[in-house]
């Protein structure tokens, strides 16, 4: 399997960071428009999830932060120690954790927005 060049990985890292900053700002604004406590009430949160554009924003945030966060963790772990086996284990471990978090978060977003909560 061809390894992705580290320069490409860093561009993805920066791209996901910029995307996440913009979308997290929208996510926070949603909390502030109603008042912080009221926006967290069950009915309000369900209404947020059922509003499709917002559910899409949440899904995008989930993917962008997962990719950025687990790649960041991979970079930190590779700075601490190097070695062929170790680097492979760290890379695949981070990819597995990223996929697990995206799958778990997507389950919440999809089921709630489809009215299955």
């Amino acid at each position: 399997m061809n390894k992705m060049r580290e320069s490409i990985v860093m561009k993805v890292h920066y791209g996901t960071a910029l995307g996440a900053v913009a979308l997290v700002a929208v996510h926070i604004l949603f909390r502030l428009t109603q008042g912080f406590s009221e926006s967290l009430q069950y009915e309000s949160v369900i209404a947020n999830y059922e509003f499709l554009p917002y559910a899409l924003v949440l899904e995008l945030i989930l993917v962008l932060i997962s990719v950025h966060g687990f790649n960041g963790l991979r970079v930190i772990l590779l700075e601490l120690k190097q070695g062929r086996g170790y680097e492979k284990a760290v890379t695949y471990g981070c990819i597995a954790a990223m996929v697990a978090v995206i799958a778990y978060g997507s389950r919440t977003i999809i089921m709630t927005s489809l009215g299955m909560a």
Binding site: M10, Y14, A17, F70, G72, I76, V101, G105, M116, A117
Partner: protein
């Protein structure tokens, strides 16, 4: 033998005092990154409580909407703002913006890339993080 003596491992990585504010920013960037990843995973888990109905969601809110919960959230806000502002500085730096022109290394060999502009950006990032934390605390405790 010498090689082994130089190996400080995680202790060396965590020592922020030896190389000035740039080293502190390097350390803080990683620390805030790990902190934000931990919060993100916890946030994914806590929000999944919505699938178990209103009672489970209200129980989760009782746990998180407390003084301790608000303080943790304020720390997360601070970490997020520092990580973002310092991250933008690093992105610009990696693109060659704000690092100065290369020149002959003269005594006292101060690296041109670590200039006052970069140092100021680090201090501004820390200041912005503190302000955002204060604003967050105001919103959360002001209600």
């Amino acid at each position: 033998m010498e090689k082994q003596e130089n190996k400080e491992g995680i202790k060396g990585w965590l020592n922020p005092g030896r190389y000035g504010i740039e080293r502190f920013a390097y350390w803080l960037m990683r620390l805030t990154g790990i902190g934000l990843l931990v919060y993100f995973i916890a946030h994914i888990y806590e929000t999944s409580a919505i699938l178990d109905g209103k009672a489970a969601w209200d129980k989760m809110l009782e746990l998180t909407q407390t003084t301790e919960g608000h303080i943790i959230l304020a720390i997360v806000i601070g970490m997020c703002v520092f990580h973002t502002a310092n991250g933008i500085r690093l992105m610009l730096g990696h693109g060659g913006i704000g690092v100065g022109k290369p020149g002959r290394p003269d005594y006292p060999y101060a690296p041109r890339s670590i200039n006052m502009k970069n140092k100021m950006c680090i201090y501004v990032s820390i200041g912005l993080a503190a302000l955002a934390m204060l604003y967050g605390l105001g919103v959360m405790f002001g209600e």
